[in-house]
C-alpha cells in the first residue's frame, strides 16, 4: 500500500460537519491489539481509511509516534542511500540479486520522490543506511548461528524417537495474557514420547529463550502466527520445576514460568 496523502481531502469537511456527538471515554487499546495495528500500519497493510484512523489514534501517544518516526527516518535514509551503491554492491550484486528488479515503481504515493530527491542529504547518510542493513543482517546471522544449536540430547528418550510422531500431546500457553497455566490441551493421552509446546507471544518480542534446569538455554523464534514452539520429552511433565521462557518486549525483560500440569477438566 503506497502512502495515500491524496485520498482523504474530504475528511476535513466531514470532520467539521460532524454532529455534536461526544463519545463516551474509551480505554486505550490492549497492548497486543495496538501492536497488531502498528505492525500492519508499518507494513503498509492497512487500507487508506484504516491508516487514517490509526494515525489519528497515535497522535497523542509518544511511544507509538517514536516507532512511526523511526520507520519514517529509516525510509528517508534509505531513499537518500538509493543514489549510491551499497558497499560491495559492485562486486556481488549481480550474482546475489539475480533477476530481482530494482527499478523504482512509478505513480505511487509521491511518485517523484524516487527521482527528484536523489542525492539529497549529507554524505554520512548513506553510511548510516549501510549500518542499518548491516546490523539487521548481523542479527540474522545471529539467528542462523543460534538456530544451528545442537538438538536436544535427553538420553532417556534418545533411543525411543520414532521416524514419525502422530498426534503428539499439544499444550498451548498464552504469554500475551501472562497465562502461566496451559490454556489448551490436545491429545492428552497420546503415547508420543514428546510433547509439543506452543506459546503465543506478543508481537515485537525479542530474544525469546527457553530455560530448563539442567539444559542449555534455547533460542525460540516467533512464527508468523505469533507462536514459539518446541518439543519436550514427555517425562518433563512429571518434573516439579517449571520450564521458563524469557523475552524482551519494548526493552523490558519478561520471564514467565510454564506450568506443565495436565489438570483434569471440570465436568
Amino acid at each position: 500500500m503506497p502512502h495515500a496523502p491524496f485520498q482523504q481531502q474530504g475528511e476535513l469537511a466531514r470532520a467539521e460537519a460532524a454532529p455534536m456527538t461526544l463519545q463516551p471515554a474509551t480505554e486505550r487499546m490492549a497492548l497486543w491489539l495496538e501492536r497488531a495495528w502498528m505492525s500492519r500500519y508499518l507494513d503498509r497493510q492497512l487500507t487508506g481509511e484504516e491508516s487514517a484512523w490509526f494515525e489519528a489514534y497515535v497522535l497523542d501517544k509518544p511511544e507509538l509516534l517514536a516507532e512511526i518516526d523511526a520507520d519514517t527516518r529509516l525510509r528517508d535514509t534509505l531513499m537518500g542511500r538509493e543514489s549510491q551503491t551499497f558497499p560491495n554492491e559492485a562486486t556481488n550484486s549481480s550474482s546475489s540479486l539475480g533477476e530481482v528488479s530494482t527499478t523504482p515503481s512509478a505513480n505511487r504515493g509521491f511518485p517523484s520522490k524516487h527521482t527528484s530527491f536523489r542525492g539529497w542529504g549529507p554524505s554520512w547518510v548513506p553510511l548510516a543506511a549501510s549500518l542499518i542493513v548491516g546490523v539487521g543482517v548481523g542479527a540474522l546471522a545471529m539467528h542462523g548461528k543460534l538456530a544451528q544449536e545442537s538438538p536436544p540430547t535427553h538420553e532417556s528418550f534418545a533411543s525411543k524417537i520414532p521416524g514419525i510422531i502422530a498426534n503428539p500431546t499439544r499444550l498451548v500457553f498464552d504469554a500475551q495474557r501472562g497465562a502461566e497455566d496451559i490454556v489448551q490441551v490436545e491429545h492428552k493421552d497420546s503415547s508420543s514420547a514428546y510433547v509439543l509446546i506452543e506459546i503465543g507471544v506478543p508481537l515485537g518480542v525479542e530474544e525469546v529463550r527457553l530455560h530448563i534446569q539442567g539444559e542449555d538455554d534455547r533460542k525460540l523464534l516467533r512464527s508468523n502466527e505469533g507462536f514459539v514452539s518446541f518439543l519436550l520429552p514427555r517425562d518433563v511433565l512429571q518434573s516439579k520445576i517449571a520450564p521458563e521462557i524469557s523475552y524482551s518486549l519494548n526493552g523490558r525483560p519478561v520471564t514467565q514460568p510454564l506450568h506443565l500440569i495436565l489438570r483434569e477438566k471440570s465436568p
Partner: protein, 195 residues
C-alpha cells in the same frame, strides 16, 4: 481489520475544545503540548525525505487547527484527532501541489538538502558510532528486501515472493532495521520524537 472511525475522548479533552472556543489561552497551550509532537511526526511521514518544510508545515497544521477551534468550528471533540490527521494529509498534499505548479525540481531539492531534522544529528558522533560498527557487512538479499519495501514501496507479500523468503524473515529484517535505527537516532542525540 474493522475500525470504528470515531476515537474515544474524555471530559478533559472536551473541556479543552470548549475552553479554546471560549478564548482560554491556557487551553491552547494544553492542546499544543498534547498534539504538536504527533503532528510533527505525521507531517514528516507524509512529506518527502528530508524535506526542510516539515517544521513549517507542522506549524501550519497546528495553527490551522487552532484557528478552527477558536472559531468553534470543531464541535465534535471525538472527531478532533481525525480532523488533525486529515489536516496533516491535506497540508502535505497541498504543499506538493503548489510546488509542482510554481517551482522547478531543482529548487525543491535545494530545500530538501538545506535543512530538516537530519541536520540535528551530531555528525562526528554518528560517524564514530558507524565506524565502530561497520564490520558488520550487509547481505545483498536483505539490502534488496529493504530497498523493495521502502524505496519501491512493494507490498510485503510481493517482496517475499520476489525474494523467495517467508514473512518471518521479512519481519526480522525490517523490525531489526527499525529498532537499530531508532537506537542509532537516540545514540546520536535525536530525541525529538520523544519530547
Amino acid at each position: 481489520m474493522s475500525v470504528s472511525l470515531v476515537h474515544g475522548t474524555n471530559v478533559e479533552e472536551a473541556n479543552v475544545v470548549a475552553r479554546i472556543a471560549a478564548g482560554d489561552k491556557n487551553a491552547e497551550r494544553e492542546f499544543v503540548l498534547r498534539y504538536q509532537q504527533g503532528i510533527r511526526v505525521l507531517v514528516r511521514r507524509h512529506c518527502r525525505p528530508g524535506d526542510g518544510a516539515v517544521e513549517d508545515l507542522a506549524q501550519d497544521v497546528l495553527l490551522r487547527v487552532l484557528e478552527r477551534l477558536r472559531a468553534g468550528a470543531i464541535r465534535d471533540t471525538a472527531a478532533l484527532p481525525a480532523y488533525i490527521q486529515a489536516t496533516i494529509v491535506h497540508a502535505a498534499s497541498a504543499e506538493y501541489r503548489s510546488r509542482r505548479s510554481t517551482a522547478p525540481v531543482e529548487s525543491i531539492e535545494h530545500i530538501a538538502a538545506a535543512g530538516g531534522p537530519t541536520d540535528q544529528f551530531s555528525v562526528a558522533q554518528l560517524r564514530q558510532t558507524l565506524h565502530a560498527l561497520l564490520t558488520e557487512l550487509p547481505v545483498a538479499r536483505d539490502r534488496e528486501l529493504l530497498r523493495l519495501f521502502y524505496l519501491d514501496e512493494e507490498d510485503k507479500e510481493e517482496v517475499c515472493k520476489k525474494l523467495g523468503i517467508d514473512e518471518a524473515h521479512f519481519h526480522r529484517v525490517v523490525f531489526r532495521a527499525r529498532e537499530r535505527f531508532r537506537a542509532l537516532l537516540d545514540r546520536a542525540g535525536i530525541k525529538e520524537a520523544l519530547t
